[in-house]
Symmetry: C2
């Protein structure tokens, strides 16, 4: 498997399905931070030590049985464009994409699992699931964690728990997050208030690609801040519980918009579809805004004949590196806007064509 | 023939064709102001005197042979909605639509001729032609003028020419105008400069429905100011000549836009089509802006499969009274915006459907 093969899948595998509460929750993710005993954290380790860690992880995953088809990538061996594609597919972090000796990632071919090696910690095991499926994402990551624990010697303290490079990950090393689509709360300008409220219960709201990333298309990530103190189960059930409240708020806001100003809402979602079908250049941000509106229209039954997952699919495909890979040559931002618009037009025409055949 | 029948035609007859220079000139119009001897001008006449004038004109047009199928309307007999429809079709002036005893209009069934009775003058004979066809429009109006002159006694002064209620119409009583579509000059913000230049050569630029009317959709009327002094031929050839210069300027501006920023232009005209195809509510002004862009796209060959005359057709059909007539009930402005969007969507879908069949 090469990075090219990932793109051929189209959308990211774990985003294509539709799990629980998928009208609001696009996906769930669990990430476990782990480090090896007797090796300095990656930031303090020598090139040789990081190479050693990568080799240990790579060879361990080669021995895995029943965990799926795993593919290791040494990031320094990948072109910058491929590294960026992995970022856009949420398989590695933007930091990890910078490369550096010993940095790597092991990816399961359905993209539901990725293990970053020598990011901030030696290991960051990520499990993904569509919809609100935190338990399942945790179980998935845990299967890999259990396997790796049997192969490697983790740095673990009986009192503190898993040791990590940054104290914010100490303890369980668990960061759980949900990717949510909140168009109605965003339109109603409730996001600032919501983010404040979530902060008070130990959760944080970020953009699509984590800390400091854009908040376009009304898509947000909500995750836990604390890793030390509560147990894994407590973290997951707390996030699950709060997410359910957010889902209810979003649904109520959608219904309120539908009841109070149905025409305005219909106009908005259909215009968005019109623009996506006809525009000859589209920035990522503008495209995301329209995709968000179209998805809202689909979720509310105003637009039919297009699968709701078109949002998740295009969310990734319209990113710069993905577009560049499609055209096989470097592009300016202006050229990308043209290719992006063209890609979206064709994709939506295909979706609507499938409808007339159905 | 009733007003209802006019609407069944769809677009205004004389707007549907495409005469000379039709990429820029939508239509040509000539209007002759005439008054009857020994009757006070309408503003000073009694109800009975105006009734008398209307009756004279009505019965004269009944005797006309070879001038087409003429239909007189007494405006006081028409519902306000029908009067407004005549305004929207440029067959009577907004002032005339206010009605009042003796006010009327005689319309030829192809709408190429309308004779307003007891507007500011006893008679205002209008001839319309698609494209830049001032001579033909003048010949058309003159045939009716000649006939009416043989039936009625015009107020005419050997030195001054035709006497009119307002001195600005004295002499020839001729007002010639062209309706032009100038999207490129408008986008390039050249219209103020152009209007100033035209003013210096005795021409005036107005909006779609004459003095003080909106200037939406980059559609303007250019007409002569002087009626006393130059002969009819001089007025017509001067307007014709200047219009040709405006056409050249507009065409150059379009080519410059196409060469300098083709992608931006394509994006603009296609987005306009997308919005017209998908919006669920559209104000007249917004619809006109998009129709103007779509028409520009058609004229430049960027959009194919839609007849250019869709602009002229919808220009009239999306007006409030026309929309109200379609739905057969009174509507608020918000309701009209919804019906307008729906009408435009269906019309464009039909145009595009015809394309796939062709």
């Amino acid at each position: 498997m090469e990075v090219e093969d990932l793109i051929r899948h189209g959308g990211v595998g774990w985003m294509g399905g539709s799990g629980a509460e998928s009208d609001v929750v696009l996906s769930s993710r669990v990430r476990l931070a782990r480090n090896l005993e007797d090796v300095p954290f990656p930031g303090a380790a020598s090139d040789e030590q990081r190479e050693h860690v990568y080799e240990l992880v790579r060879s361990a995953t080669q021995r895995a049985r029943g965990l799926g088809n795993l593919q290791p990538f040494r990031l320094d061996d990948l072109p910058a464009l491929d590294r960026q594609i992995l970022v856009e597919r949420h398989l590695i972090s933007p930091q990890q994409a910078d490369g550096g000796r010993g940095r790597g990632v092991v990816i399961r071919d359905d993209e539901a699992v990725s293990i970053m090696v020598n990011e901030e910690d030696h290991l960051r095991i990520q499990g993904f699931y569509p919809g609100l499926e935190l338990e399942r994402a945790f179980e998935l990551a845990t299967r890999f964690d259990d396997f790796l624990a049997s192969e490697l010697r983790y740095a673990f303290d009986g009192r503190l728990g898993y040791l990590t490079a940054c104290p914010t990950n100490l303890g369980t090393g668990l960061r759980a997050s949900v990717m949510v689509h909140l168009p109605a709360l965003t339109m109603a300008e409730q996001m600032r208030r919501l983010a404040h409220g979530l902060g008070q219960v130990g959760l944080v709201v970020r953009g699509l690609y984590g800390e400091g990333s854009e908040m376009a298309g009304s898509i947000y990530q909500i995750s836990n801040q604390l890793t030390l103190g509560p147990t894994e189960d407590e973290v997951l059930s707390h996030l699950q519980e709060v997410t359910r409240q957010v889902i209810q708020q979003e649904r109520r806001a959608r219904q309120a918009m539908l009841e109070q100003n149905r025409v305005a809402l219909e106009d908005r979602v259909w215009r968005a579809l019109g623009t996506l079908r006809y525009a000859r250049r589209l920035s990522t941000t503008e495209a995301l805004e329209h995709l968000s509106d179209v998805r809202l229209g689909i979720d509310l039954g105003l637009i039919t004949g297009i699968a709701p997952t078109i949002l998740q699919e295009l969310l990734v495909q319209i990113r710069p590196a993905h577009l560049q890979r499609l055209t096989h040559h470097e592009m300016t931002a202006e050229e990308r806007d043209v290719v992006r618009a063209s890609w979206i037009r064709r994709r939506i025409a295909r979706a609507l064509g499938e409808q007339t055949q159905a």
